[in-house]
């Protein structure tokens, strides 16, 4: 009796397994119109993406699913073509481009990376410059009452607390944006640390993801770290004001990020845009602004659906969800470049 039950159970399990295999292969084989677009990558763009998904589905009746697994993961997944599109805050390196074979990257959202600090006894909105940030992360400025910090904050009372720099220990678009900025302002930072999604900081504490960095900052008196703009604002972290090339200290936010994007018209051959080196004429520009990119294969079964979705994402209707979530709308010249790039998909 038990034996018979067992064999019935086995047969049932087998039947289910076969059916599951069959259905999954048939769904991937059938046309692109019914199956949803699948994307993965950047956690920065995830809140904006969830608005886009809902709105796009109601307008076009096509679904998009998105896994916020981190920029690095997004690059991996699109390289192996396990998803239909990847999203990354850092533009692909030349090696990654080569490895991913036949992809195009399109800047589709605009935000920033901001420092955040926790120093008891220090004033709110402490002013810092790029040089000071670089020296903190190089381990050269080690106390909050350092003369270089005092000079930027005349009259402020600064405690002698030890500075604990916090960085991302996992691969992160925020690390890319932050080191890209510090390397632009400090030749020494560029030569000793450099720019990447993971770098070797000579000092400090590493933490995982935005939440880990935020927790490390909040638990350590004297800590300073960097997180995504939207994350910092929604979690009400205290952010220092960072000096831009005009010598001003703009408040980090949508307006100052938009000002930075508006001041840069140079778009790289692979649509990469660096906002680290701003002209002095950009008075209100936030100095650590960054684009985030979608990465799509030039040729795929879903080329048409991808074209449609990305065209939607860069349209004013989609971009206007941004400001509430601390994303700035894309400037005109970027939208124009994006449209050219979108035209290449599937053609």
């Amino acid at each position: 009796m038990t034996k018979r039950l067992l064999s019935v159970g086995l047969a049932l399990a087998l039947a289910i397994a076969v059916a599951a295999c069959g259905s999954s292969s048939s769904s991937s084989g059938s046309g692109s119109s019914s199956s949803p677009l699948v994307g993965a990558g950047s956690t920065l763009v995830a809140p904006l993406m969830s608005k886009w998904q809902a709105d796009y589905e109601s307008k076009s009746e096509e679904t998009v699913t998105y896994g916020a697994i981190g920029s690095g993961g997004g690059i991996d997944q699109i390289t192996s073509r396990s998803v239909d599109f990847g999203a990354s805050d850092a533009p692909l390196t030349p090696e990654q481009f080569e490895e991913a074979e036949g992809v195009v990257q399109i800047p589709w959202a605009l935000s920033g990376t901001v420092p955040a600090y926790n120093v008891s006894g220090a004033p709110k909105n402490l002013k810092l410059s790029g040089d000071v940030l670089a020296e903190i992360y190089l381990g050269k400025i080690t106390q909050w009452d350092d003369p270089a910090i005092a000079k930027l904050n005349p009259g402020a009372s600064l405690p002698s607390t030890k500075i604990t720099p916090v960085y991302r220990s996992d691969g992160s678009g925020d690390t890319y944006a932050f080191t890209n900025y510090l390397s632009t302002v400090s030749p020494e930072f560029k030569s000793t640390v450099g720019v990447s999604t993971t770098v070797k900081f000579p000092t400090g504490v590493g933490a995982e993801k935005n939440d880990g960095v935020a927790a490390a900052i909040s638990q350590t008196d004297g800590a300073i770290g960097y997180v995504g703009l939207a994350y910092a604002i929604s979690n009400e972290l205290s952010m220092p004001l960072v000096e831009n090339s005009a010598g001003n200290f703009p408040e980090p936010g949508v307006e100052s990020v938009e000002a930075a994007a508006g001041a840069v018209s140079k778009i790289g051959p692979n649509n990469e845009i660096s906002l680290a080196n701003l002209p002095a004429s950009a008075k209100d520009a936030y100095p650590i602004s960054t684009y985030t990119y979608v990465i799509v294969p030039l040729e795929s079964e879903k080329a048409e659906a991808l074209r449609k979705f990305i065209t939607y994402a860069i349209s004013p209707a989609a971009q206007e969800f941004g400001p509430d979530l601390d994303f700035a709308p894309l400037p005109k010249q970027v939208v124009a470049a994006d449209k050219k790039a979108i035209a290449k998909i599937g053609s």
């Binding site: 993961g73 220990s169 504490v205 933490a207």
Partner: protein
């Protein structure tokens, strides 16, 4: 019923037929399962080595002793992570092994019967806490406590030792080691408890009959009889400690250098792989992380072999000597 069924020749024939199918079927299925396990291990080892090959070819064996991890200059080495793995696992076991033995002695020999089961269940449930949750607790509760209380105290008492020098930090080798202690304790406890329960009652009663106190009985009968089991349990815990990635990555601070101070940030092989593998840029970072994985695999194999050797030797010695000793007494 059974005998009646077999006396019927038709049913017996059927029974024989089932037996003829059953035995080979059993052999086939179980053999297949065993082969599958071997194939999975071999496949994983092959794949990790294949992934690591560019780094193995580029850095060679010197990778193991290189004390650097710089994705920008593409100079990678395993030394900081091997050091971190060894230090955190060793400290975790130094705390967890005696603690687990003590818990097991209490649960098997001392605790009143109605306390045993709830306490044993709670200790087992420690193992069920997801490591991410334990890591979060490490960041929010244990880390600050280490930074504010434990580390300053250790520093003022033993600051002359380099391992307790340096500034206290919430993220440190020591914090990670304590998280690993919490993770390994339930594993070691549940195995040692089972081992203690196998100590024959006659031996214990004999010991009491000879006038041994409870402590003397534990020391002279339970512990020697269970030595091999305790070592085996500890090695099982070591395996867990070496391999734990997520919780360690959350609290160890991800520094990529060797630091003598236990208060300093560091990293382990598993934590480094977990933190950086996804989307590692460049031609060498991902292979180097896979190379760390190869070293980790070798570590695991060595730990397993050592455990087997110790348990086998212990078995021969203890299980024979102790009963005869007891008899001699």
């Amino acid at each position: 019923m059974e005998a009646g069924a077999l006396s019927n020749p038709v049913l017996r024939a059927r029974r024989n037929r089932i037996d003829r199918i059953g035995d080979p079927l059993l052999r086939g299925l179980s053999g297949l399962a065993a082969a599958l396990a071997v194939a999975v291990i071999a496949g994983i080892a092959y794949e990790v080595v294949r992934l690591a090959w560019p780094a193995i070819a580029h850095f060679g064996i010197g990778f193991i002793t290189t004390n650097d991890w710089n994705p920008v200059t593409e100079r990678f080495g395993a030394a900081p992570f091997i050091y971190g793995t060894v230090v955190t696992s060793a400290i975790a076991l130094i705390f967890a092994a005696p603690l687990s033995v003590a818990i097991s002695i209490y649960l098997t020999e001392l605790a009143p019967a109605r306390v045993r089961r709830p306490v044993a269940t709670l200790v087992d449930m420690l193992a069920a806490i997801p490591s991410v949750i334990l890591g979060l607790w490490g960041i929010l509760v244990l880390g600050p406590f280490m930074h504010d209380t434990i580390e300053p105290a250790l520093k003022s008492a033993f600051g002359f030792l380099p391992i307790f020098g340096g500034d206290p930090s919430a993220f440190s080798y020591l914090t990670a080691a304590l998280i690993l202690t919490i993770m390994t304790t339930p594993i070691i406890t549940s195995v040692t408890r089972e081992v203690f329960e196998t100590v024959p009652g006659e031996l214990k009663e004999g010991s009491y009959a000879l006038g041994a106190t409870r402590w003397e009985m534990v020391r002279q009968v339970v512990l020697p009889y269970s030595r091999a089991g305790i070592v085996g349990a500890t090695i099982l815990g070591l395996g867990r400690a070496i391999g734990e990635a997520i919780a360690v990555a959350q609290v160890i601070g991800g520094a990529t250098g060797i630091n003598v101070s236990l208060f300093h940030t560091g990293s382990t092989m598993a934590a480094q792989i977990a933190a950086q593998f996804q989307g590692a840029p460049g031609a060498l970072q991902k292979p180097s992380l896979a190379y760390l994985g190869v070293i980790l695999l070798v570590f695991a194999v060595i730990v397993n072999i050592v455990a087997r050797l110790i348990v086998q030797r212990g078995k021969l010695k203890d299980f024979q000597v102790t009963p005869t000793e007891a008899e001699a007494l």
